[in-house]
């Protein structure tokens, strides 16, 4: 018998329809995966079940939970349900906890709000719950504050709060999106274990088909506020009906056509040698010796002309610092960076000749552009680095040309950035990088923020450009699956060091370093043919 049945759920906010005719079912001990790209309404569905929709929302339909219609329940009744019968975990572990309360208090609050237990009993349950989410209280005493924990640990605390009273249903809204792959794998297995041991139902919401495929028993695919396809995981993967699901699957496993190895000229473009970057740490006491934190630790590697090199590592491994150093934006304490024979040194004026050989595309398609500048002006900005800066007309022409090359219209140069979607913005960012015909483009998580379908398009574009313009890429990403499909050579970074380097295929098939191995193991992979799960 199903625990939760959603029937004909409709939600509108301020008169605007957000969800239409949603039908979902989930039973105890099973995992329902809701997958969809941004804006598909998957989170809103979760909020609707919790009755935590924003002000001004209207809800209709039925949400039958243990045969009670939550859609018709009073707010008081909902308060009884939330936290006790249905728990919820959110995407952002960094902000989901009250920074002023200890984690113990916050977990205990769930207990005390629903039952009249004493302080000691609440503490006992808290400690027990901490153990259940694998945060041993010996290591993570309940007196800790959220800021003393890492993102993964915080997310465990959030889960602990949600499951402290062993609810029948847990809703997890993108619980691992903000986390590193290894952490993600650990959390997903934790959730699965909890479902098994507590016979709990879990609704797992994710944009990542691979995550859903590896975790969920049943899948609902959402798009534009509608469930386009649903069924058991096995069924969905083996007998896909809806074209959207098909395209989603295709995009997730998209492999851009790699460059033939023969195109490479065996000529070093970027040479990084023994690079060191130290940060000074604040002193704990006045007379303490000055301590340093080594963000980049004796890093050496070479990128050849036209080569496509990947750099992977989890957050905090030093890859951003390394990027900034290569771009000449970061002072270094040792080693050298040479681009096409010329030294790159921060703070001193880098020569224009050197500048024009290197460009960068950042992750956030929203923060990469000055909102007050027209697209044309933004794209033309790197021309500043040219010695013989073209005149206005020539600049305009160059901008139009390059916009067309990345698949936009010449007329788009007059528009402003807010008129474009995330994918289009990333195209514009690439156009900006291309305009001075650099030899090296650093792609700093350039496709991480994009939906899978858009990501596939951008990757294709990048490959095509590399082929025609003889551009080398330094492709930085935390997402190993993308790196695997896109790069030729791979650098694995951990704690400021390059721990493994080699041909991408070789590294993936025969990783040498245990860290690389654990990274690869953690990556959820979309199965091409879905085998029956045991």
């Amino acid at each position: 018998m199903s625990l939760l049945t959603v029937k004909d759920l409709q939600v509108s906010i301020g008169g605007k329809s957000i969800l239409q005719d949603i039908d979902l079912t989930v039973s105890r001990g099973r995992v329902l995966g809701i997958v969809g790209e941004s804006g598909s309404g998957k989170s809103m569905t979760a909020y609707a079940i919790m009755r935590l929709l924003p002000d001004g929302s209207e809800l209709s339909g039925e949400i039958l939970f243990n045969d009670t219609d939550l859609a018709a329940a009073s707010e008081e009744a909902m308060c009884q349900v939330r936290g006790r019968s249905i728990g919820m975990v959110f995407q952002e572990p960094m902000t989901a906890l009250n920074p002023l309360h200890t984690i113990g208090d916050q977990i205990a609050e769930t207990v005390r709000i629903h039952s009249k237990v004493g302080r000691a009993e609440a503490l006992r349950i808290t400690l027990d719950t901490l153990r259940r989410v694998e945060l041993p209280p010996e290591e993570f005493p309940p007196s800790r504050y959220p800021h003393e924990l890492s993102g993964g640990q915080r997310q465990r605390v959030v889960i602990a709060m949600a499951i402290a009273l062993r609810p029948q249903l847990l809703i997890a809204d993108e619980p691992t999106t903000a986390l590193d792959v290894t952490t993600q794998a650990q959390l997903l297995s934790l959730l699965k274990r909890l479902v098994d041991t507590d016979q709990m139902a879990l609704i797992l919401i994710s944009h990542d088909l691979a995550v859903i495929a590896n975790t969920a028993d049943d899948i609902a695919v959402m798009r534009n506020g509608v469930v386009v396809e649903s069924g058991s995981t096995e069924n969905i993967f083996n007998h896909m009906q809806h074209p959207y699901t098909v395209s989603l699957l295709k995009a997730s496993g998209h492999v851009p056509e790699k460059l033939a190895a023969g195109v490479l000229a065996d000529e070093p473009l970027l040479v990084v040698k023994d690079l060191v970057r130290d940060y000074r740490l604040p002193r704990k006491r006045f007379f303490d010796a000055v301590n340093y934190f080594r963000a980049v630790d004796n890093v050496s590697f070479t990128i050849k002309r036209g080569e496509n090199v990947g750099l992977v590592g989890e957050s905090g491994c030093g890859k951003s610092t390394l990027t900034r150093a290569i771009l000449g934006l970061e002072e270094t304490q040792g080693g050298t960076i040479t681009l096409d024979g010329e030294r790159i040194v921060a703070k001193s004026e880098m020569s224009l000749a050197c500048r024009r050989k290197m460009q960068v595309v950042f992750q956030d398609p929203y923060g990469s552009f000055n909102p007050r500048h027209s697209v044309g002006r933004s794209v033309a900005e790197p021309l500043h680095a040219l010695e013989d800066r073209p005149d206005r007309l020539a600049q305009q022409k160059a901008v139009q040309e390059v916009l067309e090359r990345v698949g936009l219209n010449a007329a788009d140069s007059k528009k402003y950035i807010h008129e474009f979607s995330g994918g289009q913005r990333q195209r514009i960012a690439i156009a900006r990088a291309l305009i001075i015909r650099p030899s090296l483009i650093i792609l700093d998580e350039a496709v991480s923020a994009l939906d899978v379908s858009i990501r596939a398009q951008i990757l294709d574009l990048l490959v095509e450009l590399a082929a025609s313009d003889d551009i080398a890429y330094l492709f930085i990403s935390h997402d190993l699956s993308v790196v695997r499909s896109f790069t030729q050579r791979l650098l694995v970074m951990k704690d400021g060091r390059i721990v493994e380097e080699g041909q991408t295929d070789v590294v993936f098939s025969r990783p040498q370093h245990p860290y690389t191995q654990s990274l690869i193991d953690a990556v959820p992979v979309v199965p091409t043919v879905f085998a029956q799960r045991e």
Partner: protein, 299 residues
């Protein structure tokens, strides 16, 4: 349309109030019902009734005319003072943000703290004790205290902009910090500065009234709302209109400017922090920055 008007209620009411007073100030250059410098002692302390719409004061001057000319004084003093604050404070803030952590940055910030530590009215009194009272010195006094307001606001907001990716792009393009400040940072601060400017403007009107009230603002015969209040307050019991009209003029102007500022803020960015006073907003931002500083150095 009605929804539009309702959402912009603050903006519209504020703009209307401001317009009334700005119009009064401008018209007063060409025409006032009566000459405010001519005294007509025989007609003193007339109650509000035509031909004296707001009555006459203890010298027989038409209060309506004086309020028109007083608007000019108030607006001029506050506007110039805010302009001084902006013209000096914004570049300082931009420069400090562009050279974050440098000695110069430190000096500017500590200098700002120092100015903030002084009680403003006392400094105004001291300035006028040195240079004598007058509109110019009122402007200087108010202007000085506007400098750190804008410097801190600019610095705090600019620092967060400096973290944006498009600034990195500009730096990769080889643009100098000065040029980035001018091309990228400043234009993105304009909304914020306009909103803050409006609020400082309203505070300036209040400050001018306060300074004139204690006799440190514009000198007679130039009418000034604050001085009109000060001169009339002993007569409040038998001629309340002398104090009520200039008082209302101050309240409505300040109200108008505040509503306009709030409306602008909502218009520009509904998510912008709703802190009324920049003194409040800025240390907060800095607090946040302090943390991010820590975060950054470890990353």
């Amino acid at each position: 349309m009605i929804q539009f008007l309702r959402n912009r209620r603050n903006l519209i009411i504020g703009a209307l109030l401001c317009l009334v007073f700005i119009a009064a100030a401008i018209v007063s250059f060409f025409w006032t019902p009566y000459d405010v410098t001519t005294l007509d002692i025989a007609n003193k302390l007339k109650k509000p009734a035509l031909p004296y719409l707001f009555g006459t004061d203890h010298f027989g001057r038409d209060i309506f005319s004086m309020i028109m000319v007083g608007a000019r004084t108030s607006i001029a003093v506050a506007l110039v003072a805010v302009t001084i604050g902006m013209v000096v404070g914004v570049p300082l803030g931009l420069f400090a943000a562009a050279n974050r952590g440098a000695l110069f940055d430190e000096l500017i910030m500590r200098g700002n703290d120092l100015i903030f530590a002084f009680p403003a009215l006392l400094i105004a009194i001291m300035i006028t004790a040195v240079f004598g009272p007058g509109a110019l010195n009122a402007i200087i006094a108010i202007g000085i205290f506007n400098i750190p307001v804008f410097a801190r606001l600019t610095r705090a907001a600019a620092l967060s902009l400096w973290e944006r990716d498009y600034i990195l792009s500009a730096r990769v393009a080889g643009k100098s910090r000065l040029r980035i400040s001018a091309e990228h940072i400043l234009p993105n601060l304009l909304n914020l500065l306009i909103v803050q400017g409006t609020i400082q403007f309203s505070l300036g009107v209040l400050a001018e009234a306060g300074l004139s009230y204690v006799g440190l603002g514009a000198q007679p015969p130039t009418p000034s709302w604050g001085r009109m209040l000060a001169e009339s307050q002993t007569m409040f019991s038998f001629a309340p209109h002398l104090a009520i009209f200039p008082g209302l003029a101050i309240v409505l102007t300040v109200l108008g400017l505040n509503l306009f500022g709030d409306g602008l803020r909502d218009y520009f960015d509904p998510k912008l922090r709703h802190n009324r006073r920049s003194e409040a907003a800025v240390p907060l931002d800095e607090l946040a920055l302090l943390d991010s500083e820590k975060g950054r150095s470890i990353k």
